[in-house]
Amino acid sequence: MNLEDELRAALRREDPSLGFAKRVVARAKPSPQSNRPIFRMAWAVAIAAMLLIGLTATYEARQMKAERAGRDAVMALRIAADKLNNAREKVVRREN
């Protein structure tokens, strides 16, 4: 048998066995029972992570705002105390 005949024999058309198409379609379909829990878990983890990131960012922003407000309040009261004491001193000196 020469090479040409061998190739022809190897590449000849053959009909698939009975039920081949059904088997292919069945394999191609994702198994719902095996994949669903993983998908659900992945979603839950993703949502939890997003919530955690969001809450942390909100908390951090609030802390920063509070810190800035605290510094501003101290500065404001410091200026007020300084000016109040200066005015009092001036009056006391003038009276003496």
């Binding site: 802390q63 500065m75 200026i79 001036k90």
Partner: protein, 182 residues
């Protein structure tokens, strides 16, 4: 029926808020000074920010008394506004610039408790008393190279405020006052 009850209720609520809003000091007419100043402070804190500040200061300074004192001082306050400017040279602002603020402080409710005036500088302290308690406090400190306006809304103990420096709150760096005439 509901409407007839609701309208008087809203009217009473608005009327009860109105005097406080009218008496609240508004620092206006000083916007252009910041660009002339070498240093300036512009602080505006409303009641929400003051609550946050009090919480932060109490938490940050648990070990000594300053945090608690500051928290007590801040608890009764509704608003703080500070405008402070330091200039390189004198004559950067006019006395008339302060007139809109002084005009508000001449309105009923406010009374001047301390006034020290010389040719070059003046210090004025005003308070607003409601039901026997200090409900507002204002300072106008005008010096040749420095101008400070403080408006505090809410109940505040001036003696506690003046003790702040003694409690360890660092003083603000002010220019050397030696040689200045009082």
């Amino acid at each position: 029926m509901r409407r007839t009850l609701l309208i008087p209720f809203i009217a009473v609520c608005v009327a009860s808020r109105l005097p406080a809003q009218l008496l609240q000091l508004r620092i206006t007419g000083l916007d252009g000074l910041a660009s002339k100043a070498t240093e300036s402070a512009d602080i505006t804190l409303d009641s929400n920010l003051l609550q946050m500040a009090a919480g932060f200061l109490a938490g940050a300074d648990k070990e000594n008394k300053d945090g608690e004192t500051l928290k007590q001082l801040l608890t009764g306050l509704k608003a703080i506004t500070v405008r402070s400017f330091k200039f390189k040279e004198s004559g950067q602002y006019r006395r008339e610039d302060l007139e809109p603020i002084r005009a508000q402080l001449r309105s009923p409710g406010w009374s001047k408790i301390i006034s020290s005036q010389t040719k070059e500088e003046s210090s004025e302290i005003y308070t607003r008393i409601e039901r026997g308690k200090v409900a507002g406090f204002a300072i106008i400190a005008a010096e040749p190279k420095e101008l400070t306006i403080v408006a505090i809304e809410g109940s505040i103990n001036l003696n506690d405020l003046s003790k702040l420096k003694a409690l360890g709150v660092p003083s603000i760096p002010v220019p050397d006052k030696k040689g200045k005439q009082e």
